[in-house]
Amino acid sequence: MSQARGFLGSSIGRKVIMAVTGAILFGFVLAHMLGNLQVYLGPEAMNHYAAFLRQVLHGAGLWIARSVLLVSVVLHIWSATSLTLSSRAARSIGYRERRWKESTYASRTMRWSGVIILLFVIYHLLHFTTGTVHPSFIEGDVYHNFVAGFRSVPVSVFYIAAMVLLGLHLRHGFWSMFQTLGVSHPRYMRWAHAGSWVFAILIVVGNISFPVAVLAGAVK
């Protein structure tokens, strides 16, 4: 046990937690986006898919997935915050002048993009899962909720903005996972860097297409 505490207490240990949970979250976001693409196949497909998700393992599947996600988010946030705090403490007097050479806008804004993603997720759950903030929520009619939800321009805009930040977060986060988990061979790291762009763009474009499609009237 003290072993584990040592690991979780250490800088690298917490980084690794962040990478692993980050990977899970990334996996979810990717799958989620692909699943949502079914909206383009029409109401039946979409609702059928949603219903199917609820039947996996007689409904247990969903809850398992949900708990894994929840734990990941919590751990991810915990590690992110505690590491951020120790790094803040490591330089209490800053520089008057700073010039960046290799770090990216994405890498320097992970904390902000992350927090905003969190806020987004909370809103998003109230929006599509509980329907609390949804104008005309119909339990089970995911397709309706979806289309009705995005008809409101401000809501769509907020989604789009959130997705851009998610893209930034993944742009650095994706390859960062490999670095953190110890992939050191230059060849594979080149791939990881390329992957950052590919997946970030894929997920952002895919997700943004939904509100856009609704507003454009392509999906009714």
Binding site: Q3, S10, S87, A90, R91, K101, R108, F178, Q179
Partner: protein, 260 residues
Amino acid sequence: MKLTLKVWRQKDARSEGRFVTYETDRANPDMSFLEMLDVVNEGLVAKREDPIAFDHDCREGICGTCGFVINGVPHGPKPRTTVCQLHMRSFRDGDVLTLEPWRADAFPVLKDLIVDRSAFDRIIAAGGFITAPIGGAPDGNAIPIRKEDADLAMDAAACIGCAACVAACPNASAMLFASAKIAQLALLPQGQPERWDRVRKMVARMDAERFGTCTNHGECEAVCPKGIRMEFIARMNADYVKASLTAGRRATGVAEASGG
């Protein structure tokens, strides 16, 4: 060349510091940056002002003593170059240069541009060595080492301990420095027996010295005068994970107890 210098002046570790502006027109493109400061200091002494204190020794880029931040970049604008090797031809006439000491709570400022980097020594003392008591070594050629590994180990070993990586890191993390030594020794057969204990001890020490943690910004790599690469941080991470997962095995010594 004419230059304006905005230099951080601080009497000692306890005092408050501030920026003071100096003008000089005696700079010359063939001077090293430190020689330019020498000239400025000569002028200050002539005016009975306290000269600017900065750390330096070899002045050929190998001892790692020198170093401060010039216009927001540790060791200044020229890549792979320590300030002692940085020449004024890298600047233009009329430039305004801001000089600041390394900033990290693990490195208290002792005076002006001089900081206390002893935390680095303590990280090495924690495990940055191979236990090879003097006298008992086998022949140098007893264990052949794959050239690729020897060369990679040398890449890592080239670190001069200047601490520019910490100064540059947005998190004031010392991971590039620590990983260079950990990777060097992990790449060599002689380093294997202590490999897993070493990485855990050194990382523990590094954390205890209150350095920040790496979030893979890569600034360290960009300013490192010796071209130490983030690749070594990745190696250290991998070793650390493996070490932590496998740590804690203990021999029972039963055999000994039961023996005659």
